[in-house]
Symmetry: C2
Subunit: 343 residues, 2 copies
DNA sequence: GAAAAAACTTTACGCGTGATAAAATTAAGT
DNA sequence: ACTTAATTTTATCACGCGTAAAGTTTTTTC
């Protein structure tokens, strides 16, 4: 027969013995048709494996069933893990995730938003590049398409933000470090791109105040996202100089700490809690590799299960009720202290 | 005026003073219209920022300007790095990359191919899941849509394969290890999913033969992609037992080695070349984190610049001349020895 | 078992663009 | 200015599906 000639819904409707509009209805919602016709269609479906043309479907719809997902840097395992979790949640909600990475920088971020615009997504989950983001463009985008921010906040942009409570988490780890040894110095980049880095800095100052300690900083130079390299290079330099402000170092993020630990190892500086150790190092984020550093990295685990769940929930609500009151939703989730050998 | 009412090409053609078919021609190839009309269109473009509806464009086309890019696991920084490089090459060629990860396993791989089918990509670059891949489905897909494999080969599937020459690279590192100390034992998983693991195993046997050494294996249990965890857990177990077949261990890949190094550190086993070290560990792939292990991991760097370039080149050739002779192209690229502290 | 409700069929149109043939215009060369 | 080639315009169809209206059949309800 003409088995292979099922080119469109018309043809498929013919072989399944159902009219095309009903078949169309079926594909939009299988439960919206009578059980008997549904089974007829599904029988034919098994035999002819037809699928509606996605472009024709979306041509009329002003919004599709896609949800854009933009992360600043997929090469960072931390974001890769979050992205993966979010993909799952989006799929569960019956939408198709479209994952894009802004690794090129703020320009790539804008380019990603442009690509998404062309695809007319129902909504977008955006972890912005950071301070360097093209705020005007991101704003313009968020005004046109339902957008929820996660991981890093840009004030007032999008319909909501969900991320970590840096004040709580930094307080938690500063408290732990102070109780278990010398108060920590804060290791950070001079000009961090990520807004979270700035918030953690402020949170560190406040936490140290609460501990009646004076905040001290180790600020290092470095551009871009090659944090391990920066931590390593600057660690080597610092250890060579030998004038650390404290024997406990709290890094602004795990990736800096990973580099710093490698530098300490190379310089034969024992890191940890034991009596023969001269340095303690802690991080923030619970990077997937934090448990395989030497020693394992004491750090803060972000609750990104919760962050992801709430972000997806928010974007879905926005999609289903697009004309709701314009109150910007926002929630910060507590971090959890993960104790390993390094501090 | 009616500034914002540019809803389609008709409207845009009107405001730019050019007929719609000519505008259409412009968007398909700006150089195909007269310079004067081109500038007219581009002037209007700046003023009204219209962009053709991507769904309407693709509705008729049997193939789009998209190239699918499927990697087994984006959470693995190695694949994240390759994917990023490939994305750049695809963009340079004037196509849009669509990146998908099969992290769910072979089922997700099939699902990804299904998604891609719906999008009608011009071609697909596929790094297959491995032995567990649904061979029949992948084959069926590759028969319908131009497909090139990279990283891992599936015999006869797709129009070509580009990857690393495991025989050369393993020979290179075995030779180095033998010259610089005790001949290596091969650390691997019992049932590796990745075809490269099997090839490296065979290559190891052959290389040891050439060195007049007897091949010895350390085979460990473990499922899935959590290689660091497996290396770490099994490393702890092995070191507790204390009956290693050799003081030099060549791991099937870097991620196993990273776990193994962490285990050695925890057990106070000094790894490296110095006289006070009792163990040497080497890996394969030059994982982005290999330079931050303690000590830095001696390994083989895959030439994935070349692999990526050739893969993209091959898929482009296939797209432009779809009916060329059906010889399956294939090339293996040499690895480079990266010497660090661990061996 | 009849009336009401629900689901389906038929018919027809619209979406925004690509493609093409024939006619009209413009540019280039002499 | 005239010829010729190149380009643009006009007009029309195609693509595959969503959707609405009107009529028909099936199922549910009492």
């Amino acid at each position: 027969m003409s088995d292979n000639s099922i080119k469109n819904m018309e043809d498929f409707a013919a072989v399944s013995g159902i009219s095309r509009p009903t078949v169309s209805k079926y594909f939009n919602d299988p439960k919206s048709v009578r059980a008997s016709t549904r089974s007829k269609i599904e029988t034919a479906l098994e035999k002819y494996d037809y699928r509606p043309n996605i472009y024709a479907i979306n041509q009329n719809r002003s919004r599709t069933k896609n949800i854009g997902l933009v992360v600043p840097n997929m090469t960072d395992p931390f974001f890769a893990a979050i992205a993966r979790a979010l993909e799952g949640l989006i799929l569960d909600a019956g939408f198709s995730p479209l994952l894009l990475s802004s690794h090129g920088g703020a320009d790539q971020e804008v380019a990603n938003l442009e690509s998404l615009r062309a695809i007319k997504p129902a909504g977008v989950l955006l972890a912005p590049w950071g301070r360097a983001s093209n705020l005007a463009e991101v704003c313009r985008f968020a005004d046109q398409i339902p957008t929820v921010l996660f991981d890093a906040n840009l004030d007032g942009v999008g319909a909501g933000f969900f991320g970590s409570d840096n004040v709580q988490s930094i307080d938690l780890i500063v408290d732990y470090l102070c109780r278990s040894g010398e108060a920590p110095a804060f290791f950070e980049m001079e000009n961090p791109i990520n807004p979270n880095a700035l918030r953690r800095r402020t949170a560190y100052v406040a936490a140290m105040e609460r501990q009646n300690q004076t905040a001290t900083f180790i600020r290092v130079k470095g551009d871009g996202w090659d944090f391990e390299e920066i931590g390593y290079r600057e660690g080597l330099r610092l250890f060579a100089q030998g004038d650390l402000p404290s024997s406990t170092i709290l890094c602004s993020n795990d990736r800096l700490a990973i580099g710093l630990l490698a530098a300490a190892f190379e310089r034969d500086i024992k890191v940890g809690l034991d009596s023969d150790c001269s340095l303690r190092i802690a991080g923030h984020d619970d990077h997937p590799f934090a448990r395989y550093t030497c020693p394992g990295l004491t750090t803060i685990a972000q609750d990104y299960a919760a962050i992801g769940a709430r972000s997806v929930e928010a974007i879905l609500k926005l999609i289903h009720r697009p004309d709701q009151p314009k109150t910007r939703e926002m929630a910060l989730f507590e971090g959890r202290l993960v104790m390993r050998g390094s501090a």
